[in-house]
């Protein structure tokens, strides 16, 4: 473990602070996505790609990834300091979420040297956008039942089938793909393999999916005799389930190693408190309604608890009974709170809760309604809350499988 000189760290954070203060553009003249799942227009995409590239060039993304692969080679504390500075100045989100948060740490953790050399730098610079091919139209929560086929043919695999909810699918150069290489294994999991697959090849098509918000955010991806190089296989043929499960640990934040920054700006309870202070009901500040005040306090307690949970995981004595408990439950707790908080925010706006993005009378340009509808992407994507509850019940509390 490297030791960190607090003076170096403080100087680094001060530099980062100055840099973000100087370089953050808060209003580019169009609505910026709040999460990487909401990138719907080329204008938004190009802006965010340039922004990520600029942050990386300045040394504030991937600061803790190894130098040999394009990272900064610094201790994680430095990246954390850069991320704090980014947040303080309300920097836009990092675009290449699946690359930065899932694929990158996965490659660092279990990838081959060739894969690391080929992909990590492009992930950080946003030159190579990544997407994820896990869910299928018929297999969402039951990921192990994936049916997209990959059949070996010389030094390629021929892929047929379809993946769904492909975030950034239109823009992606690569996909982390879970496909079935053997349909006859006794256990369904043993027939799956994991690929780093190119997207811009014949036989791969993406169709935009319109979300409940009315916007486009992801695609359905169709494979028709698409030939992907066998060199993209991660691990061994038939060993894909293990790699996919590890990927989900990165995705759910149960395991560290992500490049840094953030890929979503959640509205937090203090933003909602600020909203509540501005709203009135029956001629009085809405916070004078004891029921509203009670709920607002509960949200502040809850967001505080989630932050404290994170701090507590750093104290081994205080998580001794269930060391994996908080990491495995944090997605469930965080996403469900966010959904309820955004719903509460709409209620605070009273009659104007009827308005939506685009209406000039809408409170805060309608972001609360949109944030609420979009919040389901997190309570469903990456394993629904119901699946998460099974995971916590079975892997933390030791309950029998459902």
């Amino acid at each position: 473990m490297q030791t960190v000189d607090p003076k170096d760290l403080a100087a680094f954070e001060a530099d980062a602070d100055a840099w973000f203060k100087e370089n953050v553009v808060r209003d580019p003249g169009f609505m910026l996505p709040l999460t990487f799942m909401e990138v719907g227009t080329d204008q938004q995409f190009n802006f965010l790609r340039d922004w990520q590239n600029k942050v990386y060039d300045a040394g504030y993304l991937g600061a803790a990834w190894p130098k040999a692969y394009g990272g900064g080679g610094l201790h994680q504390d430095f990246q954390n300091a850069a991320t704090r500075a980014m947040r303080r100045h309300h920097g836009p989100i990092m675009l290449n979420a699946i690359g930065l948060n899932w694929t990158g740490p996965l490659l660092l953790d279990m990838g081959s040297e060739t894969h690391k050399m080929a992909h990590l730098k492009g992930i950080l610079s946003a030159e190579d956008i990544w997407c994820q091919g896990f869910s299928e139209p018929g297999n969402g929560s039951d990921l192990g039942n994936a049916q997209t086929r990959a059949v070996r043919d010389g030094d390629h695999y021929v892929v047929n089938g379809s993946k769904i909810w492909t975030t950034l699918g239109r823009y992606a150069k690569y996909m982390i793909l879970l496909a079935r290489t053997d349909a006859n294994t006794p256990k369904k999991y043993d027939g799956l393999s994991f690929f780093l697959a190119p997207m811009k090849i014949p036989g791969v098509e993406t169709n935009p999916i319109r979300k409940l918000t009315g916007e486009h955010g992801f695609t359905q991806t169709f494979f028709t005799d698409a030939r992907i190089p066998a060199t993209g296989l991660m691990g061994v043929e038939g060993g894909g389930w293990k790699v996919a499960m590890r990927t989900l640990e990165f995705e759910r934040g149960a395991r560290g190693g992500q490049a840094g920054g953030y890929v979503a700006v959640g509205s937090n309870a203090f933003d909602v408190l600020d909203l509540a202070r501005r709203m009135t009901r029956s001629g009085k500040p809405v916070l004078e309604d004891p029921q509203v005040a009670d709920q607002m306090v509960e949200f502040l307690m809850e967001i505080q608890a989630l932050s404290l949970n994170g701090q507590r995981t750093q104290v081994p004595n205080l998580v001794a009974d269930h060391p994996q408990g908080i990491p495995l439950a944090s997605k469930l707790m965080g996403t469900e709170m966010s959904r309820r908080l955004n719903e509460f925010a709409i209620r605070l706006t009273g009659a104007r809760g009827a308005y939506y993005v685009g209406e000039s009378e809408a409170v805060d340009q309608g972001i609360w309604a949109r944030a609420y509808l979009n919040s389901f992407s997190a309570t469903i994507g990456g394993g629904t809350s119901q699946i998460q509850a099974n995971i916590v019940g079975e892997h933390v509390l030791g309950l029998p499988k459902s």
């Binding site: 607002m296 701090q311 104290v315």
Partner: protein, 374 residues
């Protein structure tokens, strides 16, 4: 963004947590808890003596007065583990009495009494009154000058924990129209002054205290200038330790229920495999982890002006919600057995209600937080 407190954990806390985890597990099996519920004293004097010898009563008492000079932050993990094993006895009461003297006692009182408390002499505080108001400074009991340099007390206290074992009771009173605290030796009380109350948590001993005609020396008043501060300190300390007991109890209540879900079979399946039972118990677990985080933030920030109060109120409110939910579901998920006296779920449920009723429940503390935060 406002500072609402943060986690910190000292070496001393780690030691106390370790020691208390083992000690409470060994000294408080459920057979002992149930035996002591039937016992008039309601606690095991041998275990109490051991705690005194281990120095547990002196943890938050300054070294100059016979303690080890730590703080309530180190007491929290101990009370958490006691709550986890549903232990009874006058530990919290005695700790609060010591806190009253540490914060608001005169030098003479500290010298005379704190070393005794540190050794394991039991004491308690008498704060609540028949108006059953949780506000610490609404006090109706009176202390009046008798003319001969002594004071005559009047009025009635309720929910005085462990008064039957206490050698001293520190009561809030009004003196010359201001709130004050007065030290009452058990020997100054006629036997009839104490009446044991019937309370929902059968592991606890609680008393109504009749102060009418009780005579104490004027020197038994705690420092009058510090009375307001001391009352607030006791209110927050009582809630901090209550939250600690509750968080510990929530943990074992969930463990107890999970054990049942892993062993009970219905329709040919372990009932823990049914999501109708699994998901609510996960919900209880998530609430528990949040409550425990609040607890250790409150322990860490207790002494900080402003933040300490916020963190303690959040901790008590979170603990109430977590414990009440976990224990309520514990009864339900044990099915028919859960409805019996023999099932331990009722012990947890009753203790959660006891703590909610003492020094403020979740609703009370959230209303206070609204005033502090908005």
């Amino acid at each position: 963004m406002q500072d609402l407190g943060r986690i910190g954990f000292s070496e001393d806390q780690a030691v106390m947590l370790d020691v208390a985890t083992d000690f409470c597990l060994q000294r408080s099996p459920v057979s002992t808890i149930r035996r002591l519920m039937e016992d008039e004293l309601g606690h095991d004097p041998a275990v109490w003596k051991e705690m005194g010898e281990l120095g547990w009563l002196g943890v938050a008492i300054p070294e100059a007065f016979g303690g080890s000079g730590l703080s309530l932050a180190e007491v929290v993990p101990m009370v958490e583990q006691m709550g986890r094993r549903l232990m009874s006895g006058p530990f919290i009461s005695t700790t609060l009495a010591a806190q009253a003297l540490v914060v608001g006692g005169t030098e003479a009182q500290k010298l005379a009494i704190l070393p005794r408390l540190a050794e394991g002499t039991a004491a308690t505080v008498a704060l609540a009154e028949p108006d059953f108001d949780w506000e610490p400074d609404t006090v109706a009991c009176q202390a009046q000058d008798a003319g001969d340099g002594s004071l005559i007390l009047s009025g009635r206290k309720v929910l005085v924990g462990d008064a039957g074992l206490a050698s001293w009771i520190i009561a809030s009173v009004r003196y010359r129209n201001s709130p004050a605290l007065v030290l009452i030796a058990r020997s100054a009380l006629p036997d009839a002054a104490l009446r044991r109350e019937t309370v929902i948590d059968e592991t606890r001993r609680s008393f109504a205290l009749d102060l009418d005609g009780v005579k104490v020396a004027k020197d038994d008043l705690l420092d009058l200038d510090l009375a307001g501060t001391t009352l607030m300190h006791l209110h927050l300390a009582a809630n901090l330790l209550g939250a600690a007991d509750m968080v510990g109890g929530t943990q074992s209540c969930i463990d107890y229920t999970v054990d049942y879900l892993k062993t009970r079979t219905q329709f040919g399946r372990l009932i823990g495999s049914y999501q109708a039972l699994k998901h609510p118990i996960v919900d209880a677990y998530c609430k528990y982890e949040q409550a425990r985080s609040h607890l250790y933030a409150a322990a860490n920030c207790f002494g900080e002006q402003g933040v300490g109060e916020i963190a303690v109120r959040m901790a008590k409110a979170a603990a109430d919600k977590a414990y009440s939910f976990a224990a309520d579901r514990a009864i339900q998920f044990h099915g028919g057995f859960g409805f019996t006296y023999d099932c331990d779920a009722q012990l947890y449920r009753r203790r959660a209600i006891w703590h909610a009723a003492n020094h403020g429940d979740a609703g009370f503390h959230k209303a206070k937080l609204a005033k502090l935060l908005f």
